[in-house]
Symmetry: C2
Subunit: 589 residues, 2 copies
């Protein structure tokens, strides 16, 4: 329980020799005297322990994350480039949506030298006022999204500043931001984060010329990075972003200068979501006490109505009556915090309160989801399923699932209009890399508030839910404790006012029971439809095999008939054709 | 790129109707007027966007983690109790080791009511001075271990305060700490964390009577919790802690009042480790610049020698010469930061510098590891392997591996002294739950700086290394991309001056290439020995089967001989015995 450096300096149990090893050299040397030779140790004494005491001190959140940058997702040069693009694009999309602008985003990657890349992301968002640029790009734990409950991609006030911090850490270079609001002039800010103090250091801020955008923001970060293709690449992230954001037009220039544009599928913006207040049932006792202490409300009734959703005057009265213990509508919140918070908390839990409003969540929607899947994933069969909104810890969330099944070229059997079963030719089938091969585990595409999650798949509630679903009952093979083995991609989207990520890098969803339950239900709904298709496919396959056997013998029967009945070749062929025809009609599938 | 709330308020593109939905009710209502009815929305105008601007603000690190408490491991009541015990025990062990005290720790869990548990952890550590108790237990990101590089269990300055924060959040109750230093009187401090401000709130601090301990600390936290047995229970955590800390005596009282004591295996304390300075090769350019700016050293040569390990005057001279560009031993570090940091960084990378000292790391050691495994895991075969120290990002680390193979009752075949192969009886075999069954994936026991890691197995570099090792070449079956299937437990310990955990909850190791490589090498070393044993076991099994067939027929041969040669029963039995004997000797294994 004891912090090691805080003990009473007189410690008679400690043998001198050992103790001398416990103190490192730098502490016993005056700071300016060079003595870092690791062999230059000398005896430690009680005074030094005292000196060590003073080493217990505050840790700046920025230096914490600089040292633990893998927690933010910056643990390798190839991941760093993805994380930076992701944070920048997420912010751009959030900004456009909140300003009701149809997003048009440009991502450029270019090599500065063999180790350094420049990441540039530009949007047509509303722009940022000059005075805010520093804090937004140069301070961790600063932002507008943390203190409200609303569906947004960012929520922590860490992401983009962390990317800048990584850039500075690995290259020493500051971040460059150009931003123009609708009425202002374009302003270029060069800044970096002072991580020992967690505050922005503005190198320069000047008006500049900026062609092209009427309003928007461009950020440029130079960083040590590696550019790779593959399942966890910037390319894949952007492709999946296009699937989940059908209203986005996205241009991507890769390091070799190739430009791809994902045109928007729809001009309809995602439904506008409202912020909500916490739901009373999701608030823990300790949080309730803090809220009672901090509220500006002067009465308990006012407090309940202002600080929570779904509480009106009547419900507030009922909760307070249930709490009893001398509480009235007019009780002071601060006094309640000290004395009757427990009763109030119990009363809230016991009172029936309607579910949080669901207009705070905007799922992608079955139609657009299906459209996106079909556009980007070539498969034989698609099914989607959207659950009604649910709640974890008082936070509304909603699950959507999409499944693309059937690797083109694999199980490609078709039933023609005439009742014939035929194999599709390879030529009809686009090449595709998002759907797994038939002997591989299904590919999982995870999304949270429309953001693709590419890392930490194994630790994610979505993956756990897929593994925990019985895919055998839908006709797929599934090793114990594993993903189903099938030519399939499973897409799961969680939309929520607060996504519980397992870490600051926002790569995986924490395994709350309510979330796992909802994902499983959505998977089961989609799975049942998939099961019907697969069983039909299996019947088709069996039927196809049977007919193939029979068809093999029909010409021989024709020859036999010809010999027995002394037919001419034409009659024989006609007989064979009739037989084949009868076969297909009699065994119609 | 734009924070959503910071846009220029005049936005003509936005249709009134949509815009009205974008602003939640609470913002347009005076704070004291009850209006939280979600339908009470009204039109928003430019002024409100302006009001929203003011919402971009600092986020306290404590409120950040309160909202994201799953990042700290507090995502479920059953995990919360484990996390709290873990943080408290880790701190106790660190404190005892730094004060060279043989640790004697007592953990008590008791139910307060059907939802609340009291977690109490008591140690014989050096105790904490009164003035420090508040910050250590009531402030996140505060501590003595973050700013140095030394092997310790704690390193972040978060853990125990987070446990207290969770307790307060779920029960409203403060933390109680009793501490006694060798010379002081026992002092009881009652405190909680003010999470909006991330600072301790001391409710009371008084001298009290405390029986028993001459010095030490006891912490008590009441929290919402669930107590479970099983693979991720407090029981299992403590059992594994005993394996990895053979010098620890640990008493554990579970919620039903049963007490277990793990007696220490050795009175030898772990080797005392020294703090080290960063290794020059592990320092990124940006970090170098910060160090140059912040150093108290007045010359470049002094800077290099003081701030890094393995740099003496000669090496400093060589680095500075390599950097060139006008740099001399006497250059000012601050000026160097601005102009020549790049050259200095390049020069450091190009200069050959010996590896960091390894006396900063204390592995458990093969002997004690083996002893611990044998004591707590019943198996047929044990093998351990320790790698020499290695370095990731400038941080020394060392990998140890232990394997326990052969589930008693499963492959239990023995070769007796007389050359007979026999099955062992079940009675000889202790029941065991740490070794997997023969048809299950091997159990993985992960440790970091002697702390068992029970969660996030799939996301851990250790698991990835095990999966990435080819166990088929040691005679085990291993499905693609999975753990080997075998009656086996694989223990992996990483000791390091800075363990790169993937999250603040310290449950999994980040996948640095260097770490994965070392773990794989250690596994291969142990695996080769295991392979020899397994192949021998397989030969034994084949031999056993053959002999069993032959033995089945020997009595029949006896009867046949008896009939043909007209032997009496005694002679027949003697002949059978002789035949069996010959069989065993001729086919000696």
């Amino acid at each position: 329980m004891t912090s090691p450096t805080l003990f009473d300096p007189v410690d008679t149990e400690v043998p001198k020799k050992k103790k001398s090893k416990r103190v490192s050299v730098a502490e016993e040397s005056p700071a300016t005297e060079p003595s870092a030779d690791p062999k230059g140790e000398s005896k430690a004494d009680a005074k030094e322990s005292k000196q060590e005491n003073s080493k217990a001190r505050d840790i700046s959140v920025a230096e914490f994350f600089e040292k633990n940058r893998h927690m933010l997702g910056f643990d390798s040069p190839s991941k760093a480039i993805l994380m930076s693009v992701k944070e920048a694009v997420d912010n751009s999309l959030d900004a456009c949506e909140e300003a009701s602008i149809l997003p048009d985003i440009r991502v450029e990657l270019s090599a500065v030298n063999d180790k350094h890349f420049l990441v540039a992301v530009e949007d047509n968002g509303p722009g940022i006022v000059d005075t805010q640029v520093g804090k937004i790009f140069g301070k961790l734990l600063y932002g507008s999204k943390f203190h409200k409950l609303s569906q947004s991609r960012g929520q922590q006030g860490i992401g983009i500043s962390a990317a800048g911090m990584y850039g500075k850490l690995t290259t020493g270079k500051p971040v460059k931001v150009i931003s123009k609001t609708r009425r202002g002039r374009p302003v270029e800010t060069v800044l970096s984060i002072d991580s020992l103090r967690n505050r922005p250091e503005i190198h320069s801020q000047n008006e500049v010329e900026w062609e092209g955008r009427k309003h928007g923001t461009r950020v440029e970060i130079e960083m040590e990075a590696t550019y790779k293709k593959g399942a966890r690449s910037v390319d894949m992230y952007l492709k999946q972003t296009a699937i989940a954001n059908p209203h986005l037009t996205l241009t991507y220039v890769d390091p070799s200068g190739n430009a791809v544009t994902y045109e928007r599928n729809t001009k309809e913006k995602p439904p506008v979501t409202v912020d909500i207040k916490p739901h009373p049932h999701g608030v823990e006792l300790g949080r309730l006490i803090t809220m009672l202490k901090e509220t500006p409300a002067k009465s308990l009734s006012g407090f309940l109505q202002e600080e929570f959703c779904r509480v009106g005057p009547t419900l507030a009265k009922r909760i307070i009556a249930t709490a009893g213990n001398g509480l009235t509508d007019k009780s002071y919140p601060t006094r309640t915090a000290k004395e009757q918070a427990g009763e109030l908390h119990r009363a809230i839990q016991e009172t029936k309160i309607s579910s949080p409003p669901s207009d705070c969540i905007a799922p992608i929607g079955e139609e657009l989801l299906l459209k996106g899947l079909k556009k980007e994933l070539a498969a034989d069969f698609y099914v989607t399923s959207t659950r009604p909104p649910a709640v974890y810890r008082g936070n509304p969330f909603q699950i959507e699932v999409g499944i693309a099944y059937g690797k083109p070229g694999g199980v490609g059997l078709e039933l023609t209009d005439s009742g014939r079963i035929q194999k599709r030719s390879k030529a009809e089938l686009a090449t595709e890399d998002l759907v797994a091969n038939a002997d591989e585990p299904a590919r999982v595409l995870r999304f949270a508030n429309r953001v693709p999650l590419l890392y930490q798949q194994a630790g994610c509630a979505i993956t756990k839910s897929i593994i925990g679903t019985n895919w055998r009952s839908y006709g797929l093979s599934q090793p114990k404790g594993s993903l189903p083995i099938a030519p399939m991609a499973i897409m799961v989207h969680i939309a929520s006012v607060w996504v519980p990520f397992t870490s600051e890098s926002k790569e995986a969803i924490a395994a709350y029971d309510e979330i796992i339950t909802e994902v499983k239900r959505a998977l089961q709904e989609a799975g049942r439809k998939l099961g019907i298709y697969i069983r039909k496919g299996k019947r088709l396959r069996r039927e196809f095999d049977k007919r193939e056997y029979i068809e093999k013998y029909i010409p021989h029967i024709g020859i036999a008939l010809q010999e027995i009945l002394d037919l001419d070749d034409t009659t024989r062929d006609a007989a064979v054709e009739t037989l084949e025809d009868v076969l297909h009609r009699s065994r119609k599938f």
